[in-house]
Subunit: 192 residues, 2 copies
Amino acid sequence: MSAKDGNTLDRILDTAESLMQTRGYNAFSFRDLAKIIEIKPASVHYYFQNKGDLGKALVMRYSKRFETARDSLDRLNVTSAEKLDRYVDLLSDGFQLKGRMCLCGVLAAEASTLPSDVVEEVRTFFVANETWLATLLESGRQSGDLRFEGAAIEAAQSLFAALEGALMSAWTFSSNARLNAAGKWLVASLKT
Amino acid sequence: MSAKDGNTLDRILDTAESLMQTRGYNAFSFRDLAKIIEIKPASVHYYFQNKGDLGKALVMRYSKRFETARDSLDRLNVTSAEKLDRYVDLLSDGFQLKGRMCLCGVLAAEASTLPSDVVEEVRTFFVANETWLATLLESGRQSGDLRFEGAAIEAAQSLFAALEGALMSAWTFSSNARLNAAGKWLVASLKT
DNA sequence: GACAAACTACCTACCGTCAGGTAGAATGGA
DNA sequence: TCCATTCTACCTGACGGTAGGTAGTTTGTC
């Protein structure tokens, strides 16, 4: 009777994700979450033993969604440069459309205060994106529509960190314009 | 008798700064702070009415230190490219030497949960650095030892955000190597 | 130089509120 | 009847913040 519609697990996940993206891990509580979806805080523990478990599940789900989206990009029949643009859009979407920070971006800043398995999942998200980007950059360099110096993996790590930074700056100023400008500027330096 | 040495205000400021840089705003408490400097939590309120006041004071002091450091860079008789390298070192130092995140970097991620005047100070820090960087980039472009497209202020905003992102990535992985690589990579694309 | 007043730099003890978390009972559908 | 789900009722501990007090130092006046 209390769960409005759909299953409670999904509502917990969706709402918790939104809360964590906007408040981070430490300023988010089971009480806030429970109040929004109109269940009792204790009921959340039926699905997740503790806060860390919820955090971990959230990051894993978030990572999986990104993996799927990257796979879609891979199947597009466009240049590497074009894929890179689309990837930047992908990262930006959460902020542009819903005013949310990247989940792993917020969590990264709180890394030292997070349960260790949550940090581990955040790192996994970073690595997955960096690895994918490295492959894209390298094939763009081969085909001649991207240009950069040195190892692709280092470029990918730097670029991904920079994009997360752009997101954080835009977040701080609540400014789409900042995000757009920074995204374009970062990618422009890679194009031939 | 209780304050070990020096004045208590400075010890509060120094310790609080270290705590906020490593834990952020929300995972840091007056109790943690008070325990470390061996006074009672209530005594902190003698110096700062509330947590927001302390946060604001911390960011202002941090900003001022950076301003002084940038002024020193200005007085150096070296190329803009060289100044840019030194500036990156400046931003990196807190992490490399003390394992701390940039104060305003952590706070930026928590922006939506911070007292509004603390956010305002964080934005001021961003703007001050961006403005300084814009001037540096522009004069580097004039003199021919830096190269970039478009408005200097947009390049400066993008670069600063990217550097903060690099810091956050390094923070998440506890890796000096990541920070070094990203810093070098970002600056390299600006050099002629 | 003596002494009262005022100030500095804390203290103890407490407030209401919130946190994450637990035990066990009630509910309801298969 | 069983079992999944959600509840009530609670715990322990931490949070930011406040009230009121005090030892020691400084200041102003005579």
